[in-house]
Amino acid sequence: MTKLRLLLALIALAILPVLVAPSPSRAATAIADEDLTRLVNALGSGGFSETEAAITVLAASGDDRVAGILEKLGSGDLVVRKEDKGVFLAEKAGADVKLTSLVDGKDAGVVAKGAVEKIKVNNKLRRTIASAVGSLTLRSADPAVRRAAAEAVMKSKDAAAVPALDAAIAAEQDPGVKAVMVSARASAVLASDMPEADKLAAVDTIGALGTRDALGLLSGYTGVEGPVGEAARLAAAGIENKLALWDAGQNVWYGLSLGSVLLLAAIGLAVTFGVMGVINMAHGEMVMLGAYTTFVVQEAIRTYAPGLFDVSLFIALPLAFLVAGGVGILIERTVIRWLYGRPLETLLATWGVSLILQQAVRSLFGANNREVGNPSWMSGSFMIGEIQITYARLWIIVFAALVFVALLAVLKRTAFGLEMRAVTQNRPMASAMGIRTPAVDALTFGLGSGIAGIAGVALSQIDNVSPNLGQGYIIDSFMVVVFGGVGNLWGTLVGALTLGVANKFLEPYAGAVLGKILLLVFIILFIQKRPRGLFALKGRAIEA
């Protein structure tokens, strides 16, 4: 019971980091419309150097609209109206040109193409525009824009941005954005001609960040002679050490994610094998059926109710359970029931079933991969330190934990679960006590297949959906069942997580394939020591 509560608490804790706190906002700056008009019109007067001067003056004004105006200038959308030398935003309207005021966005009329002249920009102007826009957005009202501008400067190492950054830092209220600006300033300083002391201070600032981006920045200076290069090398080494720890954490995350996938795929198999003693070689195809159910549901939603796409998975879950469970019960009643007591022949017969299912799906849906999309709440990722956490994998881990808890509840708290456990431990005695073992067999097989089906819904989000989907998981599921033992669901959990984490930890040293081979060899050797897995049931009835 306490294990159950602990699990529920862990799930709750896992969901917490998803909630994000908002950050403070900031007042806008603007200058008078007539002044802005005057400055904007200066853009159209004269050649490139006059335009450049006008850009600088516009940028210095600090008005919120200037960034947009300059961007449009850079993309060639601004024109000069020949009659009054006014500068406007131009859009094509048939053979004519529709003009819009840049100052207040009001319509300024439609004129013939010959009445306006496009303001030309060359590459030098574009660079000036880019850096002006960069330093302007540093003062934008939206903190996200300011952060993005600071990060852009950090990457571009624009030495000329130092004074703009100084001004922005002085005015910045948000501590998060301020920190990014300080780092951006340090990056700009390193690229500039400022005195050595400033540069050394900049190296320290960047080194203190400890991120992969910082490492990349510093590696540009580690080859330099003199104290700056020295400091850069030291700082880089320090960051690498910290990153090694974060990498280990990332591997643990990948391992947990892989382990949760293995758990989902294998838990149905473990339940079936525990109760009936048969290995269902068609188990992978149950997963595939669940994935294809998701595909069908999404296709239906795409055609009839596109707004429901985000809840498509919740609709697909019970359907996949029913479809896969139904097919499972059908297989049990038609094939497996007649092979009671002959596990090896059941293995062969279910292999035949798997071939038939694969070919049936191939004939119905084609042999190619089918597209199953991620709902919006499963896209994207966030960072904890240097560890990247994708939402898809996070929700799959949560889902696997929920499925595990649900199955545990069914086993321990329902009458059917009681019957299942009784038949697992001692079939003849359970039958003698009045439990209808054929019914338990059929329903267990259905339950195991149904769980495989809902695993398929989850796996469709991270894997290709094709008729061969099941084959990729069947060997791994077997390994989990063989390693964890079939006495106990906890065995499957421990087995799946251990294999997942071990696989991911071996990967950086041995490569993905060799890591997998080593794991297989390890399991073969492990079986020598514990022929029935980690959590094996004991007793004479089991040995039979």
């Binding site: 094998f273 003693g277 048969v278 290995i279 094939v335 007649w338 092979l339 002959r342 596990p343 090896l344 022949e345 059941t346 293995l347 062969l348 017969a349 292999w351 035949g352 079933v353 798997s354 071939l355 038939i356 694969q358 070919q359 049936a360 191939r362 004939s363 060997i475 077997f478 390994m479 063989v482 394939v513 060799l514 997998k516 081979i517 297989l520 060899v521 399991i523 073969i524 050797l525 079986i527 020598q528 020591k529 022929p531 029935r532």
Partner: protein, 378 residues
């Protein structure tokens, strides 16, 4: 004693089968080489190679029957031994190419030149000599089987668990041989063979010789298997199959018996693979696929396990069906194969030969009580 065992194994059934195979080994190549193409008895070369392939599959099936039908070990990884024997032969054939390869290197095979390797890896030494290669065909699968079996049988891993770890073994080998830097040709495998023992691999005469060799080796191993199963050792194997714990308690060292027949079976599968490769012209890692090994088991199940003739019949029949289906109705083949698995396990547990045998003995009037035949257990 060994001669006694061998002679005892040459019973009526073995005489018929060996005679038939020797006849085939002589008649079919002769029909290919010496009859004019217009004659109705002429065997076209492609058919000769195809039947040669069937014969090697029959040998693989025979090896599976030896461990499964007579000893109760369901191996879902015998394809690994088949493929290892095939690779040994393939390595010999690769070394025979010499300067006739695309990159014209006298020592290094093409794929090594392609990977910028400067010298031959140590495990390729010696494969330019035929006797060494043939020895490796026996030793490599045999050694793997010995080590694997020693660990598995000592720990008394049985039943479904054993089958799963044989599958794991062949899967691990599949992954390993797919890696390009293993030195075995990677995902392309070994191919583009030119010579075997000095003769052009693609010449009609060589193909005929390979066919004859396949038939003769099948006959030889059939005789060997018959000798073993009819001897006292064979009786103990059947005892292990039907009641392992009881056999152990009586005093037999069950692990030793299992290990012996397991290793022998692996060597047979290796020879089958070695005969397969020159006839098919390529060996690649997909031979290690678990699906291939499981198919070998169904050949035995269809033909009749526990009868040595059954696997030969089953392998030929199922592969013939596969060739026919994939030529005429390709989408239906997997349905047919899957249905075959189900139908055979449900309705034909004794396989074709087994059912025929049971029907034949059942026809005789029950004058004397017939000896109890142990049912093939799992």
């Amino acid at each position: 004693m060994i001669t006694h065992v061998l002679l005892n194994g040459f019973d009526a059934r073995a005489r018929w089968v060996v005679a038939l195979l020797v006849l085939i080994a002589i008649a079919v190549p002769a029909a290919n080489l010496y009859l004019p193409p217009e004659s109705p008895f002429h065997v076209p070369t492609y058919a000769l190679t195809l039947f040669g392939k069937y014969l090697t599959y029959a040998l693989l099936a025979l090896s599976v029957d030896l461990v499964w039908g007579y000893c109760g070990i369901l191996s879902l990884g015998h394809g690994a031994f088949f493929a290892l024997g095939g690779y040994a032969m393939g390595m010999y054939l690769m070394r025979q190419i010499g300067t006739r390869g695309v990159y014209a290197d006298p020592i290094l095979p093409d794929f090594m030149v392609f990977l910028n390797w400067k010298e031959l890896p140590w495990f390729w030494y010696g494969f330019d000599m035929a006797w060494f290669a043939f020895l490796m065909v026996l030793l490599v699968p045999g050694l793997l089987a010995f080590v694997f079996g020693w660990f598995a049988f000592r720990s008394r891993v049985t039943g479904v668990y054993l089958s799963i770890i044989t599958q794991a073994m062949t899967y691990a080998l599949l992954l390993a041989f797919f890696r390009n830097d293993m030195g075995f040709g990677g995902n392309n495998g070994l191919t583009d063979f030119k010579d075997i023992l000095g003769y052009n691999v693609q010449a009609d005469g060589t193909r005929a010789a390979l066919f004859a060799a396949s038939a003769l080796f099948l006959a030889l191993f059939f005789w060997l298997a018959s000798a073993i199963t009819r001897s006292k050792l064979g009786k103990v194997l059947v005892a292990v199959r039907d009641a392992e714990s009881r056999t152990r308690f009586i005093g037999y060292r069950v692990e030793h018996y299992k290990l012996f027949v397991w290793t022998l079976s692996a060597m047979m599968a290796g020879v089958a693979g070695a005969l397969y490769v020159p006839q098919v012209g390529i060996i690649n890692p997909s031979e290690f696929q678990p699906a291939n090994s499981i198919e070998a088991v169904i050949w035995v199940a269809v033909g009749g396990r526990g009868t040595l003739v059954g696997p030969i019949v089953g392998a030929t029949a199922v592969n013939f069906g596969k060739t026919w289906f994939t030529g005429v109705l390709p989408e239906v083949w997997l349905f047919a194969l899957g249905a075959l698995f189900i139908v055979v396990t449900l309705f034909l547990p004794k396989g074709i030969v087994g059912t025929v045998q049971a029907w034949w003995t059942g026809r005789k009037p029950a004058a004397a009580p017939t000896a109890l035949k142990p049912e093939p257990a799992e």
